[in-house]
């Protein structure tokens, strides 16, 4: 016994003497200028960044950014850590804890970073033509005017958009075709070769042809899929907040651009539902025009979009035929598993095929493990025998078919340089940010990740999967709304505004902060549902007015 303990202690001592801490991701090359890039890789991966770094290092291999040093070494800093998410980063970016200098991050409330003086002024660098890289345009000339206006604060630009985000539904187009789940022009089911209906955009010959045009058609489709012994809808219970973002997106489609913008700008006339006029069974209500200012911004909770979107949520969640509750509501069912079932099930005979999956625009990139599990250890998304597409969201009513589709950019993702960067690093940092926005690098980003950036740049479509192509078509045909505003109220608490955010704050009496609408809607008291769409709507209207708005008094005045 004594010997054993002596042995254990000796071994522990020996190990501590040898030392075996963390392994550095890269070895520093002292003779080069170092630039550290912080990024939250989420589902987007790091491959694009590695390719960007390789190209940048190659371009400047003989250039001297600092005296006595030649070339540059770019290191990916704190990736894959919650610290890189804007909500956390804002508190620590100025501290010595954060060594990163250039950032590509999500969840960052731009104006708050600027107001705290945390971001470096990149106006000049972004306005200068990229002649050094063989282009005539500047980075800002590739951006939309709206985005540029909203990002410009006191005439200065401190960040550029990172990528176009979005949550939505992905469908297995191969299964849709095989099982004739498309709608034809007469509202009957057909395969892809049939006379497809116009889809929600009401236009023939577009990417959404044959898809359900209205909520009713959508639920009829789910019934049909269920009858064909497939799982109609799937999401990961562990990431239930995706559902809130989907509902927000559906609400936006009902509201239209002007009314959606009111949620950020609080300045204009909103079409609101008259109190006490909603017939929830027939989904009818009376509307009124109300002038919205920051003082009465809580009234926006009465926007018709929320009514329709909540009714959609209730119809979906309170019918367990449409989804497997043990997947969609279980915290143990994670994104990886959801993607595995979506990708793998059609290749095996024992499990039900999943027709539609709730995920983000990045899903194909993130599902690499699922493709490998299904198609072999070296497989990628290009090896899939199934074709996946982004689903245009159905409209709330027949009358709304053909109305504009909105893509609300909700991930608050930006690229920027921190303000306390060492002076000798400014040049390399700005050049890196410029280089990342050259046409070649923007195209490389999209071709590598399948994700788009909100800039104008050419993309070789041959390198895109069917899914990416359909997503491009979706973005091209939608109006982008950025969660940015010059309104002081919005800037004071950007995390509080927009439908998806309301659904993540309090709206039901015994709801916990981390409980999201998908789980609240299925809560039961015995065999009865505890809440329906009406309860949640009333809860949101009440909560926004009675509890929330008082907290903004210092801003509203």
């Amino acid at each position: 016994m004594k010997k054993l303990f002596a042995l254990i202690l000796a071994a522990a001592l020996l190990i501590s003497m040898i030392g075996c801490g963390p392994v550095a991701d890269v070895e520093l090359e002292e003779n080069k200028t170092q630039l550290i890039v912080g990024m939250s890789d989420g589902g987007i991966g790091t491959e694009w960044m590695e390719r960007l770094i390789a190209a940048f290092e190659e371009k400047y291999k003989d250039y001297s950014f600092e005296e006595g040093k030649t070339g540059v070494q770019v290191v990916i800093g704190s990736k894959n850590r919650t610290t890189m998410l804007g909500e956390t980063l804002i508190d620590i970016i100025g501290t010595s804890e954060i060594k990163d200098e250039v950032f590509f991050t999500e969840g960052a409330y731009y104006n708050q970073f600027v107001e705290k003086g945390l971001l470096y002024d990149i106006t000049e660098a972004m306005n200068s033509p990229l002649t050094e890289f063989g282009e005539d345009k500047s980075v800002t000339q590739k951006m939309s005017k709206d985005t540029l206006d909203q990002l410009t604060m006191d005439g200065k630009l401190y960040a550029v958009p990172y990528w176009r985000s979005g949550y939505g539904m992905v469908y297995n187009a191969t299964l849709f075709n095989q099982n004739s789940w498309y709608y034809d022009a007469n509202g009957n089911f057909t395969d892809a070769k049939g006379n497809l209906g116009t889809g929600p955009d009401g236009k023939p010959g577009t990417y959404d042809d044959g898809l359900p045009r209205t909520y009713d058609e959508f639920f009829t489709l789910l019934e049909r899929i269920e009858k064909d012994n497939c799982t109609p809808f799937q999401m990961a219970g562990a990431s239930g907040d995706y559902f809130s973002w989907l509902i927000g997106q559906m609400a936006a489609d009902v509201m239209g651009y002007e009314d959606v913008r009111l949620n950020f700008d609080f300045n204009g006339t909103a079409t609101l539902v008259k109190e006490g006029t909603i017939d929830w069974d027939n989904m009818t209500y009376e509307t009124e025009e109300v002038e919205i200012t920051p003082e009465n911004g809580y009234e926006l909770a009465r926007q018709p979009g929320l009514v329709h979107a909540l009714s959609f949520a209730q119809r979906l969640m309170q019918n367990t035929k449409y989804y497997d509750p043990n997947n969609c509501l279980s915290g143990s069912f994670k994104i990886a598993q959801s993607q595995l079932e979506f990708v793998r099930n059609p290749t095996i005979s024992t499990k039900k095929n999943v027709a539609i999956m709730l995920d983000g625009v990045w899903w194909e990139n993130e599902a690499i493990a699922s493709f490998r599990e299904t198609y072999g250890s070296n497989a990628t998304k290009y090896d899939s025998t199934m074709e996946y597409k982004w689903m245009a969201l159905p409209k709330a009513t027949e009358e709304m078919v053909g109305s504009e589709s909105l893509a609300v950019n909700v991930l608050y993702s930006y690229g920027f340089i921190k303000s306390n960067i060492a002076p000798e690093k400014v040049e390399v940092a700005t050049k890196f940010l410029q280089f990342a926005h050259t046409d070649a690098m923007l195209a490389d980003f999209t071709e590598t990740t399948g994700i788009f950036k909100p800039f104008e740049y050419p993309v070789n479509e041959e390198k895109l999967t069917s899914f990416s192509k359909s997503m491009k078509a979706y973005f091209d045909s939608s109006i982008a709304v950025d969660a940015l505003s010059n309104c002081d109220l919005y800037r004071s608490a950007p995390a509080d505004f927009w439908v998806a955010r309301w659904l993540r704050s309090k709206y039901a009496d015994d709801q916990l902060p981390y409980e999201i609408i998908s789980s609240v809607l299925v809560e039961k008291n015995g065999s009865e549902y505890r809440y329906d769409a009406e309860d949640l709507y009333n809860g949101i209207v009440k909560y926004r007015k009675d509890f929330r708005w008082g907290q903004y008094s210092s801003v509203i005045g």
Binding site: A11, A12, S16, V23, G77, K334, R344, E366
Partner: protein, 293 residues
């Protein structure tokens, strides 16, 4: 040596059979969940997701991946990114558990000995303090503790955790104190006469007399610290142990279940091995004399 009986064995009454059946069912139910971990760790991911109970599609792939893909990202001292891989985590776990177990089982021994051997006012104060503070239910000092370790510079360091666990506020101090107090003074005095110093008496005579208790305390605390994710979570987030890394890995949205289970199995192996090797000592010692030596 004849096995010492600790309780009277009488003829089993009828009720005993019922309790036995209950206990057997309970034991089976207790063990059954772990078979999922054992099964899943050796299964193909897709096959496991299809049916967690099936006994097929076995593979060692999960264990291979543990060594390459299972990691815990940290920021290194120079601010650069780095990762703890399985071996690094394992070493941290060994250092953390052995050190903390040694500290937490040795401090009570020292204090118990000193207070019994030198029954001065301070010693009496210390022993009374242990009694009082053990009964005082203090809640929610964790924020203050974290701040204190940060101020002391022991945050994120393994030796810092050894210091943290080198405390005497616990049952063991009282047990050692009672044990040493009950020992005849002649032991010390005879040793003095033979010219032995205090340190020699302590290590050569006294410690061996309570080695059984110490070993048990060490084993139990080692197993406890090996599984403990709380201490590393609070105080060593950038210097993780295997247990914390497993918790972190499990919560990643992209983590693969069979890899989680393989890692869980690897985490459980050392505790189980120690338990199997020293089962009689662990169960027997607690059973026969409480936790007395």
């Amino acid at each position: 040596m004849k096995k010492q009986r600790t309780g009277p064995r009488i003829k089993e009454p009828k009720g005993a059979k019922v309790i036995m059946v209950f206990l057997v069912i309970y034991a089976v139910c207790l063990i059954f969940p772990y078979t999922i971990a054992v099964n899943g760790a050796f299964r193909d991911w897709g096959s496991f997701v299809d049916n967690i109970f099936a006994w097929k599609d076995f593979t060692l792939e999960n264990f291979k991946k543990i060594f390459t893909e299972f990691n815990y990202p940290v920021t290194m001292d120079n601010g650069m990114p780095g990762k703890f891989y399985f071996v690094g985590l394992l070493i941290n776990s060994v250092l953390f558990s052995v050190g903390c177990a040694f500290a937490s089982s040795t401090c009570p021994l020292i204090v118990g000995y000193c207070t019994a051997r030198f029954p001065n006012a301070f010693s009496r104060f210390v022993i009374n303090l242990v009694y009082v503070l053990m009964a005082l239910p203090i809640v929610g000092t964790i924020a203050s503790e974290i701040q204190m370790t940060q101020n002391l510079g022991i945050y994120n360091t393994i030796p810092g955790m050894w210091f943290l666990k080198f405390n005497f506020l616990g049952m063991y101090t009282l047990i050692y104190h009672a044990n040493f107090k009950s020992m005849a003074k002649e032991y010390f005095e005879a040793a003095y006469m033979d010219g032995a110093g205090h340190f020699t008496i302590f290590t050569k005579i006294m410690v061996p007399m309570v080695s059984k208790t110490w070993t048990l305390a060490f084993l139990l605390s080692f197993i406890g610290f090996w599984s403990d994710y709380g201490t590393p979570l609070y105080f060593m987030p950038d210097n993780p142990t295997l247990s914390l890394a497993l918790l972190n890995f499990n919560k990643l949205p992209g983590s693969i279940e069979t890899m989680q289970l393989a890692a869980a199995l690897l985490l459980a192996i050392p505790s189980l091995t120690l338990f199997v090797l020293f089962r009689k000592k662990i169960v027997g010692n607690i059973q026969t004399g409480g936790i007395k030596g």
